[in-house]
Symmetry: D3
Subunit: 235 residues, 6 copies
């Protein structure tokens, strides 16, 4: 999964942007429920705590944005979520956007990122092909035709000007469906470009107001580097 | 903190309800940021996984409801959040409610529970006294007068019919400010009553649709009982 | 109709709750339009004025909640509406709820209770079976299969996690459709439990702010006890 | 009260419009709470049932619109509410409107007409002068200066382009505050013009869909003419 | 097109209202996109600047209301848009309204007038017949049956109580579909009546707050009369 | 004005981005009302029609985004508005953003871009210093202190995490107020980065659905190149 996404990200990155792909060392092969996302949110924080000295910005490479607001609060550098970046980008490409993904299991979690962003009035529909797939790694090839059908339906029946192809296994697919009747947004590409944009516009990221770093807090039983960071953080 | 809340809960519980207070064995003394809530959400899931055989319903005893939707998805029994329960109860006691709490640090996290519930149109205001406190355990006594001042301002300036006293350290305080110019809601009491209500109305809790238990998922590096539960869950 | 609802209510009531069923002595056999609800709202106020000395809380036993806010304003005890109680309860059992009822005539009125509650963002759909029925008393048995079909469609096509079976003649039906693909909420049961909750959390009900008792007002030509109550009320 | 409003209405009516002022024969001298409005709603229906043969359209001459939707449902002629008409008119005179009225008691009820109309996003503020008045009949003269102060504050502090002077006792006042820093809307005038507009555009009023006349319904203990009308109505 | 609309307007105007039809001398034969509407907005301002001395109020006779807010800001007389007038009128004739028009091209532009009015919560649907037409002038006769089909579907499938027949070429059609299962609103008629209403209620139109005339501004290269008006306007 | 903005844009542009600044040859020295924006929208379309062969993307360099949706519809390349870009960027830097600008005249127009974007739920406040300025070119230096005061008030009183400094004359100011208690967003920088992002993610811009190029339309009396483009465009 990491390599599918890295390839898509590399294609989008500016020449002077260096990508450091990081795979979670614990958790799940991929996330497909709110419960997994809840747990992954903590793992995201651990991964940022481990790599913060090496990077200028962070892309949370799971559509649905586990730990996004917590990360923005805890760390003072740009943190980008793929769902949020894709939706905001879609807003510049049409009046209404749809989300097409590959499994019904993902929909409730994905839908929450819409509510959090306050963008419900811009959503045309969320669509999932009825087809089954065998391997999450090969979803792009297994479901290409049914996904294309849903993109078309989003445009023609639901009024979407733009379609986001959501879910890490679909990374890069947008570039291969170029004759679709909607503008397609690849969330990995959108997230990379938004990270580059934030590094320029607001290099410290979200550091103020409700996003300022919380006061130091003693803690126990959590990941060592993350725990240390929280124990010393503060404003 | 656990004993303050247990006392408030005991006062509200029906004669035939048995309360089993459980304190987190890892994490933070109390939660006061989105980041801590993110981490606490996982710990909540672990605690439910550890106790699910013993209980008919769960109250997540942290105003802000860490892990609430994930828990509803993962476990098939009523799961109640204090913030959600307090807000829904407030809706039956007036047109507009305010939230009064004891620290600005809590507000961003508390505000998110409002958005998730879709109840923004019912909120009059969120208020925090400007006063400092020394010990989070003694907030009730240290800040009683400034909190009362904010309750009064919520009613008289912001148009609140109801005021929720949010935050675990304020558990039970509502009962002691009986001459306030607004109906006061104690979130612990509200949560206990809603748990009792759900056990009657929907004893399996939220088990269907977007809340149905996710398919089994292999995992690694997470709490043993929780990981086992996730590995075998499924529909 | 009263006895169908009393049976459902009795099944939900706590051991120490005493139910006093009261049937309107004027008005309509049942309410199925906004106009009838408008008239019934006044009758609800008359009935509360007649029985206020005997009760700790009131359940307005007509889905649609005639007179609910007026009653909360005029009387200082918990007043619960079946529609509001069912919807708030549904919010704890899923992300989105649907309403299934037995007649199109009821929908406009029922829909207004959603707007008043500010919960439009939580509604998945309102569904009514196309089938006709002969007797409003026997709707449960006459329409059981078509109602089940709508519940299923609400879950599978509209994305409802929870379905409220609305309308007095459907009282108790939820308990008999236990294999439905959505959590079912029986409004009578929900209302009884919410009344019990409010008696504990806020025994004076909605008495403050916009819900405080209006100033005394002279009046003529209205029900004697209600008129007297209004003539002497005041703050 | 009737004559204050009749005068304002006469000033607004087209040459070929004939006004038939009708005063309620039971109820309250004026309405100032949700409970009184609930009761008045039924009285409005009775009054329309009594006069329906004589008129082409109805104006419910109480700001707050008691019985408005019920009347539209039950009778097939244009029915106009003063609050609704004033708010819709205000929408053509600016981006944001405020409501200025003479008593805090009225605000909760008036606010509901905003929610029903779905126009909350257009409201700048609701303002009431802190001053007391002795006689509801003389509010215009007693409170003219404090009302003007609130109109000014609505415009200058709250961003209102338009101010509605709400409440029957303020009928006609708009015409006397011509130098106000906001466009003033007189609800009686607005309602008369909207009634004339509807008689032209849709002379049968709201007669279709959710507003079509409900099926005939047997009834007892209600006003004779209204009861008869309901007993024979139907589609 | 002007004569179709003038005929509809004449039918709606009061005996003492004089209509002055004005056709744009530059631009497009009719408007069917946002881009054309953007350009038409300027032309509307030019036309008002040319005729302001002759009129008491302006109706912008293109459904979609090009230049509406700009005109209200720049000129101190009532300015009415057909889309806005039709939607506000529809709000008095039912709970939910639909818009039926004759070309998909128009929908994005028409939809924006809904957002601007803040009335999205009142919309049931927007419908366009799938049928093609040969001449925009003869749309009424060419598409009468398919338009009627959409009106019926709006009422029966989408829950519309009211249907607006939007688009200048449909002017007057409402009066010829009298047996439709929804109240029909003719936007030209609605606009004429609202102009008459505003001339009575607020003869200076929208002149205050955010609608007050902007300060004088030097300009070049725009229509002579409009440029002069802007150069001398100011507050 | 063009040079102030070009300087800010140059600072934000990627090394391989070439900026082509274009100043309107007709219209107004700067835009400060809805009416001026309406006219400027047409001029924006003319300018794009004149330069479309030379560019990969367009930034409409007037906060308020005159002609934005029309341009997206008419031309198939990325078109970015400064207000929209700034607001979407702000959404990644906090929960709530404020807008601080230099003149009350601008606020109504700026507020509309918020409504169009559907982001009202993310706005904390719009603030303008009470101070006067002499020259619009020197606003940055003349009003630096009062603007800083408003930024601080937005953060501390209104709850803004992020503040957008809106209005062309403020271009680049964000970089000079680095100790502000909110993340500052410079709209010119945000727009340049979003243009670069869109060129990568969706190089054809908004070309589908409601944004697809309208059918060819004959026209007269408009700018020659724009008129030609419209006469030949179509799908």
């Amino acid at each position: 999964m990491t390599s599918i996404m890295t390839e898509a990200a590399t294609g989008a990155a500016a020449p002077d942007s260096e990508l450091i792909p990081v795979t979670a060392t614990r958790g799940f092969p991929y996330i497909s429920s709110r419960a997994e996302a809840e747990i992954a949110g903590t793992i995201v924080l651990e991964m940022i705590a481990a790599h913060i000295a090496e990077v200028d910005a962070v892309v949370i490479a799971a559509y649905g944005d586990p730990g996004l607001y917590a990360a923005r609060e805890l760390f003072d550098l740009p943190v980008v979520g793929m769902a949020e970046a894709a939706m905001l980008t879609a807003c510049m490409l049409g009046s209404q956007f749809s989300l097409v993904t590959f499994s019904e299991d993902l929909v409730p979690w994905y839908r929450e990122s819409l509510t959090v962003a306050g963008l419900s009035s811009r959503l045309a529909s969320i669509r999932v092909p009825p087809a089954e797939f065998k391997s999450v790694i090969n979803v792009q090839s297994e479901l290409r035709a049914p996904l294309y059908t849903e993109v078309t339906a989003a445009a023609e029946q639901d009024g979407a000007d733009v379609v986001i192809l959501g879910g890490a296994p679909l990374a890069g697919l947008a570039g291969q469906l170029s004759d679709a009747p909607a503008v397609l947004v690849d969330p990995v590409s959108a997230a990379v470009k938004q990270a580059e944009a934030l590094v320029c516009v607001a290099p410290r990221g979200a550091y103020a107001g409700s996003m300022k770093r919380p006061p130091a807090k003693i803690n126990s039983g959590i990941d060592a580097r993350l725990g240390e960071w929280i124990a010393k953080s503060g404003h």
